[in-house]
Amino acid sequence: MKSIKGTVLFFLITVFSYAEAGEVMTTWFGDPDLQGTWTNASLTTLERPDNYTSLLVTEEQANSAATLAADFTEAIDNPYEEGESPKAGENVGGYNTAWMDPGTQLFQINGEYRSSILTYPEDGKLPRKWITWGIEAPSIYRMFTRANHPEQRSLGERCLVGFGSSGGPPMLNVLYNNNYQIVQSPGYVMILVEMVHDARIIRLEGSPLPDHIKPWLGDSIGHWEGNTLVVKTKNHHLQQRFRGAIRHQILITENAEVTEKFTRTSADEILYEFSVNDDVAYKDVWRGEMPLRRAEGNIYEYACHEGNYSMANILAGAREEERRNQ
C-alpha cells in the first residue's frame, strides 16, 4: 500500500510540476528528470508502408489504420467455428491479441500522425547496402535452422536479449513488451528494457570501454545538452548485428555510431530521436523519432531463463525430426 501511495504521490508531483511551472522537472541532483515507465507501442513502424506517400498522414488515414488493425485482430482471434478442430498442415494462425501489445494507433508528434518512425531518408526506407545484407544472410539462415545445441539458436530464444531492436539502440517497437523503465542517479542513466530484462547503463560524461568489451546493447555514453539527454553508442556486439522482427529488420555493425536524444516534453511523454551512422550496412545515415509515452503499471522481472521450457522443446523436437527422417 505504501508503494501505491508513493507512486500516486510521485505521479501527482510530476503532473503538478509541469502544470504549474511549465518547466522541466529535475531530479534531486539537478538533472532533467526522465524517470518512469514508458512505452513505444504503436502501429507506426520503422519504415513507411507502401500505402503511405508522406511522413505525415491525415486523421482520416490514421483512423483507417486503427480500424484495419482492430478488424484484423478480431479475425485472428476467432479462427474456428464452435466445435471445429484445427486441421493438420493448415495455416496455424497467428497470435491471439491477448498475447500482444502492438499499439492500436499510429503515433503522433506535435499533434500530427506519422506513417513511419524514419524521418530520413525522406522516402521512409532504410538506405541498405544490399551487398552487406546478402553476406549476412547465410548466418541468419543458420540461426533458425540449426538446433544441435542452444548456442546455435538466436539470442532471443536463448533469453539473452529481446528480439528485434527492442533494447536498441535504437530502441524500436515490436509486437509486445514495448516497455522501458528509466532510472537516474548522479552520473548514470539506466534504461531497463522489458524484453528480455536488458538494462542499458549510460555513463554520463564517461570514457569509452576498451574495444574488446562489447556489451549486448553496446557501449553508451551520455551528456546533457540543455534538457536533452544525448547518448552515443558504439562497440556493438557482434551477435547483435542483425535485429529482426516483423516490424523492422536492421543491421547494426560493430563500429556503427548510434546517437539518441531523450527530451521530456510533458509529464507523460518523452520525445525519442535517433540517428544511425553505419557505413558498412547503409549508404547513408538514417534518422527517426517517436514518442515514449508513460506506461501504466510496473515492469515485472522477466526471468526468462528460469521459465524457458521452449529451448528444451525445440531441441527435443529437432531430435525427434532426425529420428523420423532416419
Partner: protein, 146 residues
C-alpha cells in the same frame, strides 16, 4: 546482382521472420501437422516468462494425462486484464492448437494454445508462439503479404 542479393536475403529472412515474431518460432517447437482439440481441467498455471504455461488434465479411455499448453508472456497478459483469477485450478477449458514436434508426452504432452475457450464458448485468450508460416496477424499490412 543487387536483385539477387536482395532475394537471397529475403529468402533467408523469410524464415527468420517466423523466429522473430515471438520468443521463438512456432515451427521450431510445434508441429503444424499435429493439431489437437482437448477438453480438460486446469490443474496449474505457471505465470513465467517468456511464456505462461497452463497445465490441463485430460481424461480419456487410457486414463489421465497432463497437457502443458503454452501461452503468452505474463506481463502482456496482465496488462490485457488476464490475471491469476482468470484461470484458476479446476476450471474446465477447451484447447485447440498444435502438439510439440517431439510428441513424446513424457511425462507430459506439450502443445501451443492457438485458441482456448471456456465450455460456454467464451475466450480465455491464448496464442500461437509465432506464426508457423503465416504472419502474426497484428499488422494490418499482413493481409497484403500473404
Amino acid at each position: 546482382m543487387k536483385i539477387i542479393i536482395r532475394i537471397i536475403f529475403c529468402l533467408s529472412f523469410g524464415a527468420l521472420t517466423l523466429q522473430a515474431n515471438a520468443h521463438h518460432a512456432f515451427t521450431a517447437e510445434f508441429d503444424p501437422k499435429a493439431p489437437i482439440n482437448i477438453t480438460g481441467k486446469v490443474v496449474k498455471v505457471e505465470w513465467i516468462n517468456p511464456h505462461a504455461w497452463v497445465h490441463v488434465e485430460v481424461e480419456d479411455e487410457k486414463g489421465k494425462i497432463i497437457w502443458m499448453v503454452e501461452g503468452g508472456t505474463p506481463n502482456t497478459l496482465i496488462r490485457n486484464g488476464i490475471t491469476r483469477e482468470t484461470l484458476v485450478p479446476g476450471t474446465v477449458i477447451i484447447v485447440r492448437g498444435y502438439q510439440s514436434k517431439g510428441r513424446l508426452c513424457l511425462p507430459r504432452c506439450i502443445a501451443n494454445g492457438r485458441d482456448v475457450t471456456f465450455p460456454d464458448g467464451s475466450k480465455v485468450f491464448m496464442g500461437s508462439s509465432g506464426t508457423g508460416a503465416p504472419r502474426d496477424g497484428a499488422d494490418p499490412r499482413d493481409s497484403k503479404r500473404k
